[in-house]
């Protein structure tokens, strides 16, 4: 039997309750057993129990307690690219970053496009994972965009959604079929919106800074054309579509258009697109850690994304954690791999750029980083702190100030443009199913 756990005096923000207040939480058998003020006073465990092997007490005074964060977009790189990340290191990074569950993108080597692949990820997660891992399956075989993958079989094996992330499903008819097909599975398609023809070998956002820096630009339209097609197809099919890593003001307008028509569409944005502009490529002097797909955008886009967070237009924040090996980035800009190692900075970036700037409160953060992804994947017992829910908790010190040091990352991927930056807000405890995996900011 697992020890009982009491989290005392934290500011508990439950997005289902829609409010935050100072409460104690009692966890038993991996589930939330009680949430109320003053439960931990004097006799924290009740029935005369003292802290010890059977009772863990965490004092969360001055801290914020959230339902465990869920990352809807993580690259764990296993199988096949273990030099960049593996399930052990990726889930360790998740624990450090306060994520109790991560959805693993299927663009591994081989691509997760069969039941066997899904089962492999689940098996490795059970053996080596510090947090929950939700496998995602490919939409098309080998993510080649030619034939549908066996999504029914993968769904039965435990795939929670389907995505060809890293590349778009180029054929519009194939995308339409994929959307029709997943309707019977009750699973969403997660779309990486990109018109490859318009990208045209671009490596950064097309605008003033690409002109100054002489790097080939990716127009905002390369994303927006694909967003427009996909939301129209979601309207046509009535199927669940989730748009990932949207990055432009135009995409926000298209998302508004689709939602106003009642199309079954949700979307996420990443912490880096909410925090940084294309000027970072200049400020960091062509540092390849600024190279990401979609690229860091113009300041008008960043403003539109933040406003979409404030208004609730955009549903969730996902990291697009994309760890790469040092050698993959230590080359000329055009040759460098795209992606940012994001799990360990996500909370602090969101706290620094959104919570402290008044775009988001703690309940909103819990909604966007826990409840909404739980609903996306159909996880009824996650995303909330109500009694009976899974005891996945994230505890944040909202005032802690720290400097991002990639060398100290648990992830193998040290590729972050936030390196050296001072951020506010740090995850101190991560609790997965009642088990403490991060305590005092240290992996247990």
């Amino acid at each position: 039997m697992k020890p009982k756990l009491v989290v005392k005096n934290g500011l508990v923000a439950d997005p289902l309750a829609g409010k935050s207040k100072v409460q104690d939480i009692v966890v038993e058998n991996g589930r939330i057993a009680a949430v109320a003020p003053g439960l931990g006073e004097g006799d924290p465990g009740g029935r005369g129990q003292e802290p010890g092997p059977d009772l863990i007490v965490i004092d969360a005074s001055g801290k914020v307690v959230l339902p465990g964060l869920i990352d809807a977009h993580t690259h764990l790189r296993e199988p096949g690219q273990e030099h960049k990340e593996d399930i052990a290191s990726g889930t360790a990074a998740a624990a450090v970053g306060g994520f109790t569950t991560v959805a693993a993108m299927p663009n591994t080597d081989p691509v997760i496009d069969t039941r066997a692949g899904v089962e492999f990820v689940l098996k490795r997660a059970a053996e080596a994972g510090r947090v929950n891992v939700l496998p995602l399956g490919a939409v098309t075989k080998g993510q080649k965009g030619a034939e549908l993958a066996e999504m029914g079989d993968m769904a039965e094996a435990g795939a929670v959604a389907f995505s060809d992330d890293g590349r778009p499903v180029t054929g519009s008819e194939l995308m339409r079929c994929a959307l029709e097909y997943v309707k019977m599975l009750g699973r969403p398609i997660i779309s990486h919106c990109e018109d490859v023809d318009l990208v045209n070998e671009g490596v950064m956002h097309q605008g003033y800074w690409s002109t100054v820096l002489g790097l080939r630009g990716v127009p905002a339209a390369a994303e927006e054309v694909a967003v427009a097609r996909d939301v129209i197809l979601a309207g046509l099919t009535g199927s669940r579509l989730h748009l990932t890593h949207l990055s432009t003001a135009g995409s926000m307008a298209l998302l508004r258009w689709a939602k106003d028509r009642g199309f079954p569409v949700t979307a996420d944005v990443t912490p880096h697109h909410l925090a940084l502009t294309d000027e970072a490529v200049r400020t960091l002097d062509y540092d390849t850690d600024t190279k990401v797909n979609p690229p860091l955008r113009a300041s008008e886009d960043v403003e539109a994304l933040r406003e979409a967070v404030r208004s609730g237009l955009v549903d969730l924040i996902a990291t697009d954690h994309a760890p790469h090996h040092f050698d993959d980035k230590d080359v000329e800009y055009n040759y460098a791999a795209s992606g940012i190692s994001g799990l360990e900075t996500a909370v602090a970036v969101v706290v620094t750029c959104l919570v402290r700037e008044g775009f988001l409160d703690w309940v909103g953060l819990a909604r966007m980083m826990s409840l909404a992804p739980a609903r996306l994947f159909g996880l009824e017992s996650k995303g909330t702190l109500k009694v009976g829910a899974d005891a996945d908790l994230t505890i944040i010190d909202p005032e802690a100030e720290w400097t991002v040091d990639p060398a100290a990352f648990a992830s193998k991927g040290r590729n972050t443009p936030f390196k050296g930056m001072r951020l506010r807000g740090r995850v101190t405890e991560t609790i997965v199913g009642g088990r403490v995996v991060l305590l005092g900011g240290k992996l247990v």
Binding site: Q206, S210, T211, L213, G214, Y286, V331, E332, Y333
Partner: protein, 320 residues
């Protein structure tokens, strides 16, 4: 006074004072090129390596000659005959070069920012001899030098840059340099070859080549890479030439004493008509000579600013 910097990567980050220092130094060094014995000991014991990842005639050779005229030891790596073809990374190539005791690496590379990467990882001075579509600072400097030599100043001159602005590192370096020096810079070319936001750099834009050339003191024609046509950026060489080709008729709109420039290599009959390229207005061969003088100045100011004294003093001592 030496340049107070390790590398020369862009004119965007170079001050008016620094650019003026380079141009003034080039002025005094140019005289060496007219001597019978073109050799001064200024950079004796210093070593310069050219590392070119793209083909080049004038830039690579003029850096090499600039170094040799000042007694630097020079060597060249052409990537087609080096370990680069075996897959050696830029970092390893640079460190290999540096381990030979090279003081200065002059690099041309197809990717913007590659010299910045090199500058970060090397102790040696890095000179950008053209990086992708980004900058070609010594070309900008030699163009400014050539104009100043002819016109006496850069301030308030109308300079029209004509052609493929989007892909041109020569255009970018000239835009930064000339606008900082007070010139009135116009850029013109097909709308598909005009980069977004270019007016924020301080230039004026037009799609009518006549408007750019009208009253211009300087007409700078850019090379058109003919393969761009296949990518759909313009319909045909013929149409490009009709709309943007610099011809005698169009140049009649310029000031009477205008000067005509082209960084080379030219597509005669495409972006520039042969009769004007070879006319008395053309500064095209002067540009090449001045390229050597400007590159001598840059090398000297980066490498030679020691207690040995000024190039003028040493150069003067050698004078015959």
């Amino acid at each position: 006074m030496p340049l107070n910097r390790k590398d020369v990567l862009t004119l965007e980050d170079m001050s008016v004072e620094e650019m003026t220092l380079i141009l003034d130094t080039a002025d005094s060094l140019k005289e060496i090129l007219g001597r019978d014995i073109k050799k001064v000991p200024t950079l004796r014991g210093r070593s310069v390596m050219t590392l070119f990842y793209e083909p080049s005639t004038r830039t690579r050779t003029s850096f090499e000659m600039a170094g040799k005229y000042m007694s630097a030891d020079t060597a060249n790596i052409a990537t087609t005959t080096s370990a680069v073809v075996k897959g050696e990374t830029l970092k390893d190539t640079a460190w290999t070069v540096e381990a030979m005791g090279i003081d200065c690496i002059v690099m041309r590379h197809p990717i913007a920012g590659a010299p910045h990467f090199l500058a970060r990882i090397c102790q040696a001075s890095i000179i950008n001899a053209g990086d992708g579509m980004h900058e070609h600072p010594t070309q900008g400097l030699l163009d400014m030098f050539s104009i100043r030599e002819r016109k006496g100043t850069l301030r308030a001159l109308k300079v029209a840059i004509v052609g493929d602005i989007l892909h041109s590192r020569v255009a970018r370096s000239n835009i930064w340099g000339l606008t900082k020096m007070g010139a009135d810079v116009w850029v013109t070319g097909p709308s598909t070859l005009m980069p977004p936001g270019i007016e924020r750099t301080g230039v004026r834009t037009t799609f009518r080549v006549e408007e750019a050339i009208e009253g211009a003191d300087v007409v700078m024609v850019l090379r058109l890479q003919l393969e761009r046509q296949k990518k759909g950026l313009f319909p045909s060489i013929r149409e490009y030439s009709r709309l943007f080709g610099v011809t005698r008729e169009r140049l009649a709109l310029a000031k009477q004493d205008f000067i005509l420039m082209h960084p080379g290599p030219m597509n005669r009959g495409v972006e520039i008509a042969s009769d004007v390229a070879d006319s008395e207005y053309s500064l095209i061969t002067d540009q090449v000579t001045n390229g050597v003088a400007v590159r001598m100045a840059v090398l000297y100011l980066l490498l030679g600013g020691g207690p040995e004294g000024s190039a003028q003093a040493e150069g003067g001592g050698e004078k015959r």
